[in-house]
């Protein structure tokens, strides 16, 4: 007890977290590098990466990971910004709409995949609508390797539906930090609504947009449930390949190599966003 008293209180309070983060972040990082860069008898080797790159699924996984990112993120950003502007209007019912829009925040990507499976499966809602409208006689098959574009579309819709609320909440809390003086000044000078959004709100919101983009991109790289539900291995991505190599092939070394690739992509993307969307101090806009 007397020993405990001699340690400064902040250190005492922080140490559980520090120990925990070391155990569960630093050690796995070291271990994963060990797995990926070593042979089973602990000799340095690049053969795991060789095996990963020469695998028939690798090129597809790289391409799909990037294509999905490019299709999902911009749509999500625009939709989320629109939703955040709606909620931020503070008209009657705004809060109600916020709670409605936030619902998918609590839904896992696996459940979201199953939801959209009920729409896109062969005897699903989409075929049912098309049939009722008289467009279709027989059901179309959307989710097969013969229709990769439909598969991508289903996955993009699933992710846009599920994760837009997350971006919205981040942007909304940014919007609420913008001091009223700015928007009021813009109105006094006779700005149109669009000018206000374009020249006042968007620049002031840049830090939030940056955080949202970084957060979303990292999570999009890890998207996993919808892929497995809607496409299986017909549309491989890095995260799902890492899973297959661990569970089906039972080769944790190649799985670790995929995980490291994913981490590298996340780090590169983060630095790109930080570089491209550099914010100046005066843009923070909090008064």
């Amino acid at each position: 007890m007397s020993l405990l008293r001699r340690i400064p209180l902040p250190i005492l309070l922080l140490s559980p977290t520090l120990i925990f983060l070391t155990l569960f972040f630093v050690i796995p990082l070291v271990q994963v590098s060990g797995l990926a860069f070593q042979s089973p008898d602990s000799v340095f080797t690049l053969s795991n990466f060789d095996r990963m790159v020469s695998d028939i699924y690798f090129d597809g996984a790289l391409r799909n990971t990037i294509i999905l990112l490019i299709l999902i993120i911009p749509v999500q950003l625009v939709l989320a910004f629109a939703a955040a502007l709606i909620v931020n209007q503070r008209r009657r019912g705004s809060t109600f709409f916020l709670y409605i829009y936030a619902i998918p925040l609590g839904i896992s990507d696996l459940a979201a995949g199953l939801i959209w499976l009920s729409i896109f499966t062969e005897r699903g809602y989409l075929n049912s609508i098309l049939h009722n409208l008289g467009i279709l006689e027989r059901p179309l098959i959307f989710l097969s390797s013969m229709t990769p574009k439909w598969m991508v579309a289903a996955i993009v819709l699933t992710e846009v539906w599920r994760a837009t609320p997350l971006v919205m909440v981040i942007l909304l809390s940014g919007l609420q930090m913008i001091a009223k003086d700015y928007t009021e000044a813009a109105e006094t000078f006779g700005c149109t609504w669009w000018q206000k959004v374009r020249y006042v709100i968007l620049p002031l919101l840049k830090p939030s947009i940056q955080s949202a983009l970084i957060m979303r991109t990292m999570l999009a790289f890890q998207m996993f449930g919808p892929i497995l539900v809607l496409a299986g291995r017909q549309l491989p991505v890095f995260a799902s390949e890492s899973y297959y190599w661990y569970t089906t092939v039972r080769n944790p070394r190649v799985a670790a190599a995929y995980a490291l690739m994913l981490m590298a992509l996340s780090v590169v993307a983060t630095f790109l966003y930080l570089l491209l969307l550099r914010t100046k101090d005066e843009q923070v806009g909090v008064m």
Binding site: L14, F97, Y99, Y101, L110, L114, S118, S173, V229
Partner: protein
């Protein structure tokens, strides 16, 4: 002015329908009898609703056990994450010390770690230490995923409880710990509970690590994902809807804290 108002409500309603519609659809699919799910032409709204699929799902081998395991893992996750993370959050809110900024940046950096990067080496470590395929092992992993969130959120919520109150309690004869327990803790409790509920949902929903770190003792998402290829549509739809129900309840419970939690957790 009037058409502006109409435009606002029209846009708001369209977005609300887009958000709610898929949930209604999966609920309907989960309540559609199996025969109708596979029939063609398929009616958009099922002719009869029944709990047949739900019963089939609940009685399927392993589902009930997986559900209880999911709840146990989630509860353990909340406990570990709050016990370990909340003191750090309190320290960040109350004290000035060297390395504070470094600690904060370190916490933010952990967000760059993909789940696979942690789960795969941990599986190898767990196998060696005999905690592979256990509730505790998975809860530790989930607590690690939730830790950055818990630390940042608790730090911001303790910042909102004025330190003056704690000081006043101490001048009136409370000890440091007494002041915390009697003054700060009760004031921060509602937001602490909200953060705990959010952590629970995070664990309940987590798929990748659960699927990698368990084999026989699967949690519900891990069970569903590992049986995807062999399970029929009615199992999948009932399972999907079943997983959503607690999430809907929890989001409803923490609705007031949504903005303050995510706002601080992300916007620095």
């Amino acid at each position: 002015m009037r058409w502006k108002k109409a435009l606002f409500y029209a846009a708001a309603a369209v977005f609300a329908v887009w958000t709610v519609m898929p949930i209604v659809l999966i609920a309907m699919a989960a309540l559609t009898p199996r025969q109708e799910l596979y029939s063609w032409p398929r009616q958009f709204i099922p002719e009869n609703f029944s709990l047949e699929s739900f019963r089939f799902f609940a009685n399927s081998h392993g589902v009930l056990a997986a559900t209880f395991r999911s709840i146990a893992v989630a509860l353990a996750t909340v406990l570990i994450a709050l016990l370990v993370g909340a003191p750090a959050g309190y320290a960040l809110a109350r004290f000035r010390f060297r390395g504070k900024e470094a600690f904060r940046i370190g916490i933010l950096m952990t967000r760059m770690f993909p789940t696979s990067l942690l789960a795969i080496p941990l599986a190898v470590i767990y196998l060696k230490t005999n905690i592979y395929d256990t509730i505790g092992g998975l809860a530790l992993m989930h607590a690690a995923l939730a830790m950055p969130f818990v630390v940042l959120v608790t730090s911001s919520l303790f910042l909102k409880v004025p330190y003056d109150l704690e000081e006043a309690a101490m001048t009136l004869g409370c000890s440091r710990i007494g002041a915390f327990v009697r003054v700060s803790l009760p004031l921060a409790l509602p937001s602490l509970v909200a953060a705990g509920i959010y952590t629970f949902v995070l664990s309940w929903n987590e798929v990748f690590a659960s699927a990698v770190l368990t084999v026989h003792n699967r949690t519900l998402p891990a069970h569903i994902i590992s049986t995807l290829n062999v399970s029929p549509l009615n199992f999948k739809f009932a399972g999907g809807f079943f997983m959503i129900i607690p999430a809907l309840i929890f989001i409803f419970l923490v609705r007031r804290y949504l903005l303050s939690m995510w706002g601080v957790a992300i916007n620095k």
